[in-house]
């Protein structure tokens, strides 16, 4: 049995293509059932996120299976296969395994190391399990992918550092204050990055937010959005000491907070630490403020520096993660091939035994004066005969488990002795004709 992957991602297709191919998470039953009903496809899982749409499937016929999945993707969404095909990638065997392990470990993500993808694959697998489109191989395969992702997460630092300015600000704040649940954020001015950072802080669960702006109406509007307290810009220094984290991005041409005022403010709050993030250009906060005791000032450039270092770090960690993936591919393939040999041996034995028993019964029923004990002897004789015949091929088959020829043997045996029950054996029929 072979594992195949067909799909597209942010690396091969723009969002205008991806959105057309995406599957709605609430309606997975229909496409999953349709895929497993395709000829040659036995198991299937559909992963559909905003950055990728992929089908993982098992098949006997690699080329045919891939072609059918591609056609399915096009037909299901009413797209032209030729236009879609140039965005699609397909993998089989080791490459398919590597691809899925890498995706689950977030090595193939737009932001390498981002943690959402693993959860998304788990959800997709959940649907496949619910609608029974995945079976023994894909179950094992996905569980393996999850354990690889977990290993990557624990053994490398791939996801341990922030790679966006807003996240870097939150991470830094945590390194100063620890928990942020009793901290207050003050927003001075407005701006996209400032608001984004504020949202991140709110998501982390800060206690309160204050907003100030040169025009009080804007402050009020923003305050409403963030469920915050609006403050008049003139009153800034009456409230500054209540804030632990200050995000500033006004359009002011000069510094609005200087060392002199900060010495006063920090005394007012009994030297409790303060964290300033100055996103404005030109800067809002005098760099000398950083010299005030227990006050920490970061500009947007500092945060960009943090992000750049973290990205660099992630690259190093990603290399370690790739090594883990390679290791696990080997292990998984060992299992996959062992799975093939054992049931083949069992099926072959059962097939021989069925024939033996049927023939034995036929002989005995037509034998009139059967001497006592002969039935047992005949049974033993045919049994020994069958075992002798099977001994050689089976030991070769078992030995092949260690090598990489076993799929060849297994395939031949399954075809020659018609071991795949319920499936027409086209090859044999052709030979007979």
């Amino acid at each position: 049995m072979n594992i195949i992957v067909v799909g597209l991602s942010h690396k091969t297709a723009g969002v205008e293509i991806r959105e057309k191919v995406a599957f709605a998470p609430t309606q997975m039953e229909k496409p999953l059932k349709a895929v497993v009903e395709l000829p040659d496809i036995t198991e299937a899982i559909i992963v559909s996120t905003c950055n990728r749409v992929e089908i993982y499937a098992t098949t006997r016929d690699i080329a045919g299976g891939m072609a059918r999945l591609k056609r399915f993707l096009a037909d299901y969404h009413g797209l032209n296969l030729e236009t879609l095909e140039k965005h699609l990638y397909s993998y089989h065997g080791e490459d398919a395994t590597r691809h899925v392990f890498r995706v689950a470990s977030s090595l193939d993500s737009m932001v390498v190391g981002e943690p959402q993808i693993l959860g998304q694959i788990k959800t997709s697998y959940g649907y496949a399990a619910e609608y029974k489109s995945s079976g023994i191989i894909l179950n094992r395969f996905l569980h393996k992918a999850f354990s690889v992702a977990k290993r990557v997460r624990t053994e490398t630092k791939i996801a341990s550092s922030a790679v966006s300015v807003a996240f870097a600000a939150v991470e830094l704040a945590k390194k100063i204050f620890g928990e942020l649940t009793d901290k207050t954020v003050l927003l001075i001015g407005a701006g996209e990055m400032c608001e984004l950072a504020a949202k991140h802080f709110i998501n982390t669960g800060v206690r309160g937010v204050m907003v100030t702006n040169r025009t009080y109406e804007r402050a009020e509007k923003l305050a409403e959005e963030f469920d915050a307290k609006p403050i008049r810009f003139e009153d800034l220094f009456d409230h500054l000491h209540k804030a632990d984290i200050i995000l500033s991005s006004t359009g002011a041409p000069h510094f609005i907070i200087r060392e002199k005022e900060m010495n006063e403010v920090i005394r007012r709050r009994k030297m409790k630490a303060m964290f300033f993030i100055d996103i404005a250009v030109p800067r809002d906060i005098d760099p000398k403020v950083n010299d005030v005791e227990n006050v920490y000032l970061y500009t947007v450039d500092d945060l960009n520096g943090v992000v750049a270092t973290n990205l660099e770090q992630r690259k190093i960690e990603a290399a370690k993660a790739e090594a883990i993936v390679e290791q696990e591919i080997g292990q998984f393939f060992k299992w996959l091939s062992s799975l093939e040999v054992t049931p083949t041996i069992v099926a072959l034995r059962t097939r021989f035994d069925e024939i033996r028993k049927a023939e034995l019964a036929k002989t005995i029923s037509g034998w009139k004066d059967l001497p006592p004990g002969a039935e047992k002897k005949l049974d033993a004789l045919t049994n020994a005969f069958m075992n002798k015949l099977l001994h050689q091929p089976m030991s070769v088959l078992k030995k092949s488990e260690q090598g990489n020829r076993n799929d060849l043997y297994v395939d031949a045996l399954r075809n020659l002795f018609d071991l795949d029950t319920g499936e027409p054996q086209e090859n044999l029929i052709e030979l007979e004709e």
């Binding site: 630092k157 341990s160 550092s161 830094l172 945590k174 390194k175 100063i176 204050f177 620890g178 005394r267 709050r269 009994k270 030297m271 409790k272 630490a273 950083n290 005791e293 227990n294 920490y296 970061y298 500092d302 520096g305 943090v306 270092t309």
Partner: protein
């Protein structure tokens, strides 16, 4: 038996120190966890040593430098384990276990034979007075470790050097809190040790206070920590200033303990 327990403790503390120092430079969380268990086992062996010596000697084994250094080390490890359980920061061990090991190594350089008890020390105050003093000292030592970490971490954040060490060290406010908590634990103990010492002095030497160098320096130590705690509660000496003062207090305390015993002759010069 006594020596066996003592040297086992020494070996276990050394192992824990190696683990904690490796943890400082390697990312594996498991090193910290193993370190925690090793130091916990070491603490139990050390406790066993101390209790055993109590029964063998027939009195509180804090009568000379060998014994008091050993007890100091035991108390440091004990308080450190409590902190680690409370705050889950293994890296504190990278700063505190080397200190505990060092104290125990110094202790090992003094003779471990049990001399007859100095008649002046034959009192039930011995246990209370000395153990309070050393528990207090130990709390100050852990506060010292946390303060050093605070200064390092604060330097990293100020100078935007956000490397591996920065990632490893806990948040500034947590370090500040550990340091402060240890002080609020150690200060009453020191106060009580001084008061119990005065009462004992009255019954043994006939006077509450005789300006013996140990007494004088204990008072100096007490004032340093009192000033630190007072400053924190009133004007908010926290963060960097508090860390610097805690380190200063610890150095004064070390002099009160060792400097006075070794350099200044007086009523407390037990060697």
């Amino acid at each position: 038996m006594n020596d066996l327990l003592f040297y086992s403790t020494l070996v276990i503390y050394a192992a824990a120190t190696v683990l904690y120092l490796t943890y400082l430079i390697k990312p594996q969380q498991i090193l910290g966890r193993i370190g925690h268990w090793v130091i916990s086992v070491g603490f139990l062996v050390h406790l066993g040593f101390t209790v055993n010596r109590y029964f063998v000697a027939g009195h509180t084994p804090i009568t000379n430098l060998h014994e008091s250094l050993s007890f100091f080390s035991l108390a440091v490890v004990g308080i450190f384990i409590l902190c680690e359980r409370r705050y889950h920061v293994f890296i504190l061990g990278s700063f505190v276990t080397p200190l505990a090991l060092l104290i125990l190594v110094v202790s090992a350089t003094f003779s471990s034979t049990i001399p007859p008890l100095n008649p002046a020390l034959q009192s039930r105050w011995l246990l209370v007075h000395t153990s309070m003093a050393f528990l207090g000292y130990a709390a100050f030592a852990v506060s010292f470790g946390a303060s050093i970490m605070y200064l390092i971490q604060s330097h990293f954040v100020k100078k935007r050097r956000l490397g591996t060490m920065f990632q490893k060290l806990p948040p500034l406010d947590m370090l500040d809190e550990i340091s402060y908590r240890c002080l609020t634990f150690g200060f009453p103990l020191l106060t009580f040790a001084i008061i119990s010492g005065a009462i004992w002095a009255e019954s043994a030497w006939g006077t509450y206070w005789s300006w013996d160098p140990k007494e004088t320096w204990s008072l100096v130590t007490w004032f340093v920590y009192a000033a630190l705690l007072h400053g924190r509660l009133t004007t908010g000496w926290r963060g960097r200033k508090a860390a610097l003062l805690s380190i200063f207090g610890f150095l004064i305390m070390l002099f009160t303990f060792l400097g006075v015993n070794l350099l200044l002759p007086g009523l407390h010069s037990y060697k």
